[in-house]
Structures are given as structure tokens and as C-alpha cells.
């Protein structure tokens, strides 16, 4: 079965067993996979543990787009990036973990940038509600002075 594949295609298997066939140029955008390919320790099927099919599909989508549009205008890519990272919190953190784990620098930067945008300009109170959920009480007691200082409205 694997011999019938073209030479420059790789199969990535997600943690829940789903397989994705991707061109090698796309797959090696992940440094981790690149290392595996270079060391020739990878057969045609590369297991991608810790990353489920859903997230893996997103990562591949991102890599494909970046690979294709290398020659195209950078602004197109930017709009794609900003739309791509605009997801719910759940998916966002899974993606960050996956991008970090597979070492995809462009994706990681785009995602972290997005989280940073969400933090930017918000008061501590809002950040807590948005990101940390239910930890209000504990922090109030421990960091009282910092709070006063930080909660000043800077803009």
C-alpha cells in the first residue's frame, strides 16, 4: 500500500488513529517531523501523538496554505492567518500545544500573537474572567497591592 504512494507524500497518523496524506514539503514545516524525516527514522507513516484528528487537520490546513502562497502577496497570508487563528479558546490552546509540540514556528507565532491581542488593553479583571475563569478570590487576597497598581486604566 505504501509503495503505491508517490515518493514525496507522507502519512501522518493522529492520536485517535486517523490518517492524513500530505506532501512532504508541507509536513516538514514542522521541525519535529523534519528531523524525523532527515534522520530517516520515519517510515511512510508518522505517528503524531498528543494531537487529535481535528487539530491535526487544522495544522495541516495552515501549513498547506503557507506552503502554497510563499510566492504570493504577504498580505493575503496575513488575512488568512488572522482568520485562521480566530477560534474558540478550546481549539486555540489545543492548537498552541500542537504547534509547540510539532515545532511549527509560523503557526505558533500567529497563535500566540492572537492570544496576546486578546490580553492587550484589557483590565486584569477581564483577563481573569476570560482566561482563568474562577480564580478570582484567591488572587484578590494574595496580590492586593499589585492589583491596585495594575488595575489603573492605562489607556
Amino acid at each position: 500500500m505504501s509503495s503505491s504512494l508517490e515518493k514525496n507524500m507522507l502519512i501522518l497518523r493522529s492520536s485517535d488513529g486517523e490518517e492524513f496524506i500530505v506532501p512532504e514539503v508541507v509536513a516538514v514545516m514542522s521541525k519535529a517531523i523534519k528531523n524525523m524525516v532527515e534522520d530517516e527514522c520515519a517510515s511512510n507513516t508518522i505517528p503524531v501523538p498528543n494531537v487529535d484528528a481535528n487539530i491535526l487537520a487544522m495544522v495541516i490546513e495552515f501549513c498547506k496554505k503557507h506552503d502554497e502562497s510563499e510566492a504570493e502577496a504577504a498580505s493575503d497570508l496575513k488575512t488568512f492567518d488572522s482568520e485562521f487563528v480566530n477560534r474558540g479558546q478550546e481549539a486555540l490552546y489545543d492548537l498552541i500545544t500542537a504547534a509547540n509540540f510539532r515545532d511549527v514556528k509560523e503557526l505558533l507565532d500567529a497563535l500566540c500573537q492572537n492570544v496576546a491581542e486578546m490580553i492587550k488593553g484589557k483590565s486584569v479583571h477581564h483577563i481573569r474572567i476570560q482566561f482563568l475563569g474562577y480564580q478570582l478570590f484567591e488572587i484578590l487576597t494574595s496580590n492586593f497591592i499589585w492589583n491596585i497598581w495594575c488595575d489603573r486604566d492605562f489607556d
Partner: protein
């Protein structure tokens, strides 16, 4: 909705990330924002200290001046890999960053409205492993003890009124440079416009070069960059370029403007020949205009077809060609481009909405019998933007479709919208200028005592700081301190922003939305409309008035800081100074004198006084008298 979240337990996903990832996220925030997160929880408390990026924005820096800034700086980790320092006003605290420079900085990004003072430039020598340097303020190379950057890879720099010596020093001092963005700004009305200037740029390792030349009359550039891959030239007065061989060139983008077509044709040809080996070429409408007129002359002389074909060099490697065309454009030129580029695969034509003033009549177009070979064999993507369906446009389309046998994809878009600035839809805006008044800070800020003038149809594309300066001169406003704009539908307290450079203008557009009115407020040095010559702000020992005024402007937001900014308003030396300069009513004469003393940025006349000047201010006023 949001308040509900307090009670429903949201899973704390962000804390499940590792510290490294959180630090990475924080590195995208400005430093003050990232310090704020220390209040989030125990875990976040010390996280910001190990972030290796310091990013000070305008207000941030101002806010945390004094002890707070010091606290941040000394608490932060000892190694700083990136330092961003952006600010649109003059800061006395600038020298605070000097001790930071010794901390193994890899990336330095400075954006200031003034010329960088010599001391600061000198202290760059501490940055031994600096790899990226972006300076978006006036930079002067003090050749005396310039050591250069041994490991610098990326350099973005702007220099006003450069001299050849400094350019040579610059290019010699960077031995492994790969990317260079060079912004050269010349004075519009200095003496130096009279003579020729020649510059040598020699960087053997350079891969990407982008040159932005403004008002560079009589300039000549001798560029030796054998390893260049990307070239981007934008020149407001087409200078002469001499490029040595660039065998690796992949991308070239040319945008030149001329007033005198006679010489320009030769220069354009010379430039095109230099970039002929590129695989991707993009020419702006103004550049095409030059070529078109050259073509037109040959046409009218009735030179035979074979001779006419000689006008363009051949592009043996060209695969992607982007041309901006305009009304009254001769399609023969496009066909000629096609004939000279046998490997072309992608053709993009963008039609400008505006008529080119040099070609009023539409030349008749008779397609040749045999189509260019690349059209028949290679071209597979054609993109056409801005065609409105005119007769000659349809003719061209018909011709292309008939002959492009290998065409895979044809895109036709009738709206010419540059993806970079999608706001250009509203081409004409109304500009309201409030001037000759002053701001009053009560509960609300208001602008009183001035006049309001309206410019009805202002072309958004052409609006620049320079243009605004011209408008102001029309209104009799020659000197001002700052221009502010108001974000539509916001009041003066929240919606007022400084407009200092063309980036600000771009930002202003982004607020424009559906409205088509821009509102500008001019802040003067004095409440009345009095001409005030340049006074000296920076690097003086004597406290000077305007720095304090800058501060006061924000004071109603930041009450807690007002104590620090209350000296010098009644400084006698300052009064003397402005009185003496009132006599000085000949701006031209003054300019020349001024030029001989200080370098000045043309575009930001508002900051005339802001440019560095090592003299004491009382000295300089004596000088002038």
C-alpha cells in the same frame, strides 16, 4: 454575558500551557501590558520578568517614567533579546535605554520623531551581537568613532540629507548584512539641491534591498550588491542608478516618479537593463508612464517595428510580470513586454482609475498578426484588475484570450483595490482643519479660539504629512507643534491621536469607516498664531517649556503624574528665546541658516525644533540674531 462567567466554572486552559509558551505569548505584548499580567495569579506573577522582549510604546513609556520604569527595567531578566521603543513625541527619558544596550540585545527597534543623539548612537557599540536594527527616526552617522555592527543582518534605517561618506561608512561597517531598508530624505528647499550627489553602496552579502528616496534631486547611486535577491525602489524624483551585476535577482519592484521626462527615459532603460535577469518584476503606474512616453516618441517618429522592439531589454528569466496601467496607455508596450520575456507564466495588469496626465489621447492599437511566444506557450495565469469595460480594454482581452492557449486561470476584477490599504474605496474625503486655537482641559477637552477651514475634495491616495503641511501653509499656518486627528464619533478626550508621520495617516484611514470627513486639530507653540522659529528642545541643560507642555497635554488622564511635570513653564530663558525669534520672519533665510547648523527632516516640520542640537538654546538664539 461576561459577568455570568464568574460563576460558571470556565476551565483554565491558558494555565495548562507551559511557562515557555506563556512567555512567548507575553513577548507579543507591550511591556506594560505584560507587567499587568503579574496580577493574574501566583504563577503569572514572576513570569514577565523572564520575558526577553521589552516593548515600550508611546504612552507606556510616558506612564512609567520615573521610578516605575526603573523598577521594570531592573526587575526584568538580565538578557533582553528584543527591545522595541516606539514613541511619537520627544522623550527626555531616552537615555534610560542606554544601560539596556549592554544586555545582549539581538533586536533593536527604535521609532522616534527626532534625530538620534550622538551619545546614544555611540552606545550602540555595546550591542555586539545585534542582528536586527530598525531605526525609524532620523539617524546620523557620526563617522568619527563609528565602529559598526559586526553581526548585523537586518538594518532598517532612515537618514535625512545623507552624505556619501556616511553611506560608505555604513555599508562598510556591516559585513554580514542581508536586508537593508534605506530611507533617504532630502530637504525640499536646501542649497544642496543645486549640485549633484553621488552615493556608493557596497554590500557583498546583501539579499534584500529596499530604497525609499524622497526629494533626491540630482542623486546618483552606484550600487554593488552581487548577492541581491529582492530589489524594491521607490523614488519620488527619479535618481540615476548604476547597478552592478546581480545574477541572483529574483524579485524587482520599481516605483519611480519624475518631473522631467527627457532624462528619465534613459534612466528607466538603464534600470530595467540592470534588473533584466529577475524572475518577478513589478512596475508602478508612474514608471509605466515613463516607458509609455518613451514608446510614444518612437511611435511618432515612425520608426520601423524592428527598431521599436529594441527599446526594452529582454527578460530571459521572467516568470511573473505585474504592470500598473492607466487610461491612455498603449497596449503595444504590454505586448512588447510579452515579446521580450519568453518564459512568462503569470501576467497581472492593474489599471489605475486616474488618467495619466502625460498621455491624454488614447493611441490606436493594432494587434500584430503573430502573438508573442510566451502568450502562446507559457502564460497560464492572467489577472486583470480595474478594467471598466472600455473599448480598448475589451480589445486587449479579446486578444489575450484568443492567443493564450495554455491559460488555466483568468481573473477579472473591475475594482482596483490594493490589498494593503483596502480603505481607498472612498477616494475623496473632506478635511476639516481646526487651527490657530488652543486646547482647554476642563472636564472635557475642547479646542477654542481658532478657525475651522474645510478642504472639500482631498484625494485620499495623495494625503501625506507633506500634503497637510501644504494645506496648512495655504491657511497661513507655518509652524505648529503637533497635528492631532480625531477618530470619528469619539470625543476629544478619547479620540485624539497624534499625527506625525505617514504611518499615522494610514492608521487614521483605518478609523475612517463609512464617514468621509477627517478632522485635524493643530496645536501651536503659543495660543496665538505667531511665527516661532525653531527652538531647541533636546539635550539642553536648561529646562525648556515645550517638553513640559507635552506632558501637560496628557495630564488630565494621569493625575498622579502631574507633579513631575510642572517646572519650567515660566522659564525666563524660554520667553527671551521666543521673543527674539519673532523678529525672524523670513523663513527661507532662516531655513538656510538652520540647515547649516542642524539636519532637519523635511516631512515633519512640526518637529523642526525637535531635532537634536547640542547647543544650549540661548546660544542658538544669539546665533540667529
Amino acid at each position: 454575558m461576561k459577568s455570568m462567567n464568574i460563576f460558571s466554572e470556565v476551565e483554565d486552559r491558558i494555565s495548562s500551557l507551559t511557562d515557555d509558551l506563556l512567555r512567548h505569548i507575553l513577548s507579543f505584548l507591550s511591556t506594560l501590558n505584560s507587567v499587568r499580567t503579574s496580577a493574574l495569579s501566583q504563577r503569572w506573577r514572576h513570569l514577565w520578568k523572564s520575558v526577553q522582549t521589552l516593548h515600550f510604546d508611546n504612552l507606556d513609556w510616558w506612564n512609567c517614567k520615573g521610578s516605575l520604569a526603573d523598577q521594570i527595567l531592573c526587575k526584568n531578566s538580565k538578557i533582553i533579546s528584543k527591545l522595541h521603543f516606539h514613541c511619537t513625541r520627544i522623550e527626555r527619558d531616552l537615555f534610560r535605554i542606554v544601560p539596556l544596550l549592554g544586555r545582549k540585545i539581538r533586536e533593536l527597534d527604535i521609532d522616534l520623531p527626532i534625530c538620534l543623539p550622538e551619545d546614544l548612537v555611540e552606545s550602540f557599540r555595546y550591542c555586539e551581537i545585534l542582528q536586527v536594527l530598525k531605526i525609524r527616526c532620523n539617524f546620523k552617522i557620526y563617522t568619527k568613532n563609528w565602529t559598526g555592527f559586526r553581526s548585523l543582518r537586518v538594518l532598517h534605517i532612515s537618514i535625512s540629507n545623507p552624505c556619501n561618506v556616511s553611506m560608505q561608512t555604513l555599508s562598510r561597517s556591516c559585513s554580514v548584512l542581508e536586508e537593508l531598508v534605506l530611507v533617504l530624505v532630502f530637504d525640499l528647499n536646501g542649497l544642496h539641491r543645486l549640485w549633484n550627489k553621488s552615493f556608493e553602496i557596497f554590500v557583498p552579502t546583501l539579499k534584500r534591498l529596499s530604497m525609499r528616496i524622497r526629494h533626491g534631486k540630482n542623486c546618483e547611486f552606484d550600487v554593488t550588491v552581487p548577492a541581491l535577491e529582492c530589489l524594491d525602489i521607490k523614488d519620488s524624483e527619479f535618481s540615476q542608478y548604476k547597478f552592478r551585476d546581480m545574477p541572483c535577482l529574483k524579485k524587482a519592484k520599481l516605483d519611480v516618479v519624475v518631473s522631467n521626462f527627457g532624462e528619465a527615459k534613459n534612466r528607466a532603460m538603464q534600470l530595467l537593463c540592470a534588473v533584466a535577469s529577475t524572475s518577478s518584476l513589478s512596475l508602478s503606474a508612474t514608471t509605466m508612464c515613463i516607458l509609455n512616453s518613451a514608446h510614444g516618441v518612437l511611435n511618432s517618429l515612425n520608426i520601423s517595428n524592428s527598431a521599436r522592439g529594441m527599446i526594452l531589454p529582454s527578460f530571459p528569466n521572467l516568470t511573473r510580470l505585474e504592470l500598473q496601467v492607466f487610461h491612455g496607455f498603449s497596449w503595444n508596450l504590454v505586448i512588447e513586454f510579452l515579446e521580450n520575456s519568453p518564459k512568462l507564466e503569470i501576467l497581472i495588469l492593474r489599471k489605475e482609475a486616474k488618467q495619466c496626465w502625460h498621455c491624454l489621447e488614447t493611441p490606436s492599437w493594432t494587434p500584430k498578426k503573430c502573438a508573442p511566444s510566451c502568450l502562446l506557450l507559457n502564460i497560464n495565469v492572467i489577472e486583470i484588475v480595474g478594467f471598466k469595460g472600455g473599448q480598448e480594454e475589451l480589445e486587449l482581452l479579446e486578444y489575450l484570450l484568443k492567443n493564450a492557449k495554455m491559460l488555466d486561470k483568468l481573473t477579472i476584477n473591475s475594482i482596483n483595490l490594493d490589498p494593503n490599504d483596502a480603505i481607498l474605496m472612498a477616494t475623496f474625503v473632506k478635511v476639516l482643519i481646526h487651527h490657530s486655537g488652543y486646547f482647554i482641559e476642563n472636564d472635557e477637552r475642547s479646542y477654542v479660539g481658532g478657525n475651522v477651514d474645510v478642504f472639500d475634495t482631498v484625494d485620499v491616495d495623495k494625503l501625506s504629512v507633506l500634503e497637510i503641511n501644504c494645506m496648512l501653509k495655504e491657511l497661513g499656518v507655518f509652524y505648529y507643534k503637533h497635528i492631532f486627528y480625531r477618530i470619528p464619533n469619539k470625543n476629544l478626550v478619547l479620540g485624539l491621536r497624534v499625527l506625525a508621520n505617514d504611518d499615522d495617516i494610514r492608521e487614521m484611514y483605518s478609523f475612517l469607516g463609512n464617514t468621509n470627513t477627517l478632522e485635524l486639530f493643530i496645536e501651536h507653540h503659543k495660543p496665538q498664531n505667531v511665527d516661532i522659529a525653531h527652538h531647541v528642545l533636546f539635550l539642553t541643560d536648561v529646562p525648556v517649556k515645550d517638553v513640559e507642555n507635552d506632558g501637560n497635554y496628557y495630564n488630565d488622564h494621569y493625575q498622579e503624574d502631574s507633579n513631575t511635570g510642572s517646572d519650567g513653564n515660566d522659564d525666563p530663558s524660554d520667553k527671551d528665546f521666543s521673543d527674539s525669534s519673532d523678529d525672524d520672519d523670513d523663513p527661507d533665510l532662516d531655513d538656510i541658516k538652520f540647515d547649516s547648523n542642524v539636519e532637519r527632516d523635511v516631512n515633519e516640520e512640526g518637529f523642526k525644533e525637535g531635532h537634536e542640537c547640542e547647543m544650549n538654546d540661548t546660544n542658538s538664539s544669539k546665533d540667529r540674531l
